[in-house]
Symmetry: C2
Subunit: 430 residues, 2 copies
């Protein structure tokens, strides 16, 4: 059964802390294995990637198979049903329209001293997007990664996707085509991350790698960080629903189940001011689970990691939400705006009764690659800025340099960097 907590209980603090601290992933230390894989790919390139891929994905690829050809992409895409094609195109168009607004503007100006100061944004040249394969087939994740990269102006957008048993979903290839991916490699795991970071004969080196993956992928991203940029280290998905008496228990239950069906440690939490709602949601989850075709993963996830917390007020709910810093926060309230400003740490917030989190996963327009495992305390969801970088611009003329020289030289002296001070004073006419 999921945990039931009440902020009025005397042991609430300790039990809530346990919930925060609970591990939802096996903390398998794969860093040594991953180090060896990265070193091998750096040393042997394609040969290492092929050997590892054929072993882990049970395939029989030659080097020429690693990159999926334009013809294969075209053929596979053509097999996707018209309904799914339309849906992916709709998702793409809405996500593109929203992310378009994230494009930053350059700003160069002169201050009162005549110093030119500025900020200029430029795209990363080449990025790799990792998309998990195997159990899950997520064309939506391809779109969420590639659209902001494309908008940023990235020239090469490479996709790495493992194909266990050689199988790949046609919808992944179609999504890549729609979103403007420039190359697709059928490789996964740490070997994919290593190949993207260092390049091989077949795999072009990129400058930044984004996207979720398993423990090996996460460890590899951590190790290649610095050689390339990475987004955050992804953990299991999670939702926190804040609901009051105005919420529909059946709808809340459906959202809790939708999160739990991701499996792999995915967590669903309900925080509510209404004890009655807590009870009816718990009953609804059981009822709806029994109607779900593949209920086992969702049931196990809900029972192992689910939680229902009753609170005295919405303010208290917001305070817990900030401590949990969930990837997704739903405000199942008639007036979500009333507590929206109080929710400071969340990957994404879903307003009101008619915004199930799943709409944001696909077609809402916002990104579904969001900070997990409490990292919304410091991290943001994927966006256009992840594929750009900011260059500072600074320009002095003789007058403004003279005006700034005394202060700069004084600090250089305190820092015992005489050469710094001299590079300024040598330019002064005295």
């Amino acid at each position: 059964m999921p945990v039931r907590l009440d902020t009025a209980d005397s042991d609430f603090d300790a039990r809530f802390q346990d919930l925060l601290d609970s591990k939802r992933e096996s903390s398998q230390d794969v860093s040594d294995t991953v180090s060896r894989i990265i070193a091998d790919v750096r040393a042997r390139g394609d040969a290492a990637v092929l050997e590892l891929t054929n072993k882990f994905d049970r395939t029989n690829f030659a080097a020429a198979d690693l990159r999926i050809s334009p013809e294969e992409i075209e053929q596979a895409s053509a097999q996707v049903s018209e309904e799914v094609r339309t849906a992916l195109q709709t998702a793409h168009d809405r996500i593109r329209a929203h992310h378009e607004k994230q494009k930053p503007e350059d700003h160069v100006y002169q201050d009162a001293l005549g110093v030119t100061l500025g900020t200029r944004w430029t795209p990363v040249d080449a990025v790799g997007i990792y998309v998990p394969g195997g159990l899950a087939t997520y064309p939506s994740t391809v779109i969420m990664g590639a659209v902001p990269a494309k908008l940023a102006g990235v020239e090469r957008i490479a996709l790495a996707v493992p194909t266990p048993g050689g199988q790949i979903s046609a919808s992944i290839l179609l999504a890549a085509q729609i979103a403007g991916v420039t190359e697709i490699y059928r490789i996964g795991g740490a070997q994919a991350i290593a190949a993207l970071a260092y390049g091989t004969e077949t795999v072009g080196r990129v400058d930044k790698i984004v996207g979720p993956g398993n423990a090996y992928v996460a460890a590899a991203k951590r190790q290649v960080f610095g050689q390339v940029g990475i987004d955050s280290i992804a953990g299991p998905s999670e939702v926190l629903i804040i609901a009051d008496g105005s919420a529909n228990p059946a709808w809340i239950a459906a959202d809790l189940i939708a999160q739990a069906e991701h499996g792999g440690g995915a967590q669903s939490i309900l925080v509510t001011t209404e004890k009655g709602l807590a009870d009816s949601v718990a009953a609804e989850v059981d009822r709806q689970l029994s109607l779900l075709p593949k209920q086992q993963i969702a049931r196990e996830g809900w029972e192992e990691f689910g939680a229902i917390i009753t609170v005295a007020s919405l303010e208290e709910a917001a305070s817990l939400a900030n401590r949990i810093a969930s990837e997704h926060v739903e405000l199942a309230l008639d007036d979500p705006q009333s507590i929206l400003p109080a929710i400071r740490h969340a990957g994404a917030i879903f307003l009101g009764h008619h915004t199930p989190e799943a709409i944001g996963d696909y077609v809402g327009g916002s990104n579904h690659v969001l900070p997990t495992a409490r990292s919304a305390r410091f991290a943001s969801g994927l966006g256009v800025l992840d594929f750009m970088k900011r260059t500072s611009i600074l320009g002095c003329d003789p007058t403004s340099l003279s005006a700034l020289a005394e202060a700069a030289v004084a600090i250089a002296e305190v820092e015992a960097l005489d050469g710094h001070g001299r590079s300024i004073s040598i330019r002064l006419n005295r």
Copy 2:
């Protein structure tokens, strides 16, 4: 002697690649040692931090000494000369004025379907700024870290600075006071990073850690990434100067020396269209080095890592600059604007003959914590956005949910996430 290359040489490509690949830091693998330190600090808190600090910094601290008291800060600050106080205040005010313009704006709107979409920025609650101690005393780095954090709205700004032999520069404490640092810990190394990431009895846990450090600090930041946010992994500093015949060889030489005097692998590169300038700069560097009070570090740095590259055109210079992706790029040209758009990968760009890089280190207004080791390909300098995170806002009403439902449910089906589809369809009135 520094490397001399010319793009016209037949072996240029290979030698330039060697320059790009050259290691400027000992690639000492300290990750196992750092893992043990982090585990120890997590397990034993203050006791471990004290033991490690007293050992590595040759101090004899008790737990009560780890945090520097307001009285000590006040006393030390009062000892700083008026000249340096004014200089640090000037630096602070200019850096604050420039970074103020980096504050992002929230944007929430309704699209044509009536879907509410938005982006909201909120500050990180607590950050840790690491400032190296020992050989270097860099009050400017304190200001560069704390000012954008303060502007972002961060409540707790903690400083960690090692105090070898118990010594700390009064200017560091004054800079912290000016910039609004809320707490200062006299600890360094991996133990400081572990204490900030996990908290101890004395050290308050933070959500993000920024700032440069040695190999142990870098490895520790890599390992705690995920538990907290981090900025990039810093490497040795570097400058690339692009100069034509209009440049003053003595000024260029002074800038090359200023970079080299950082030591620890710092690199100075001149790229010029004028062979004559290349020769006179080389001679000037030798001449000026012999006049520098502490010339050894700068001379060794210049001889071991310096490079002078002659090119056929400024376009060729820009192309090399993009491959090098230097932390600092100086355009020592009469018309720097002419090639500015062509420089796509650089931490900061300094325009014209009167903008020595050192002015940006201190009082220009831009940040001096910048991407090194070619990471300007994907990373930016420190700024206000590093201390904030973006939350997506999504809101549907019954009408807009209905409009989006079909596409969302179709994608959920392709992804075999029935519960996702049901969380949408259960809300539709049919």
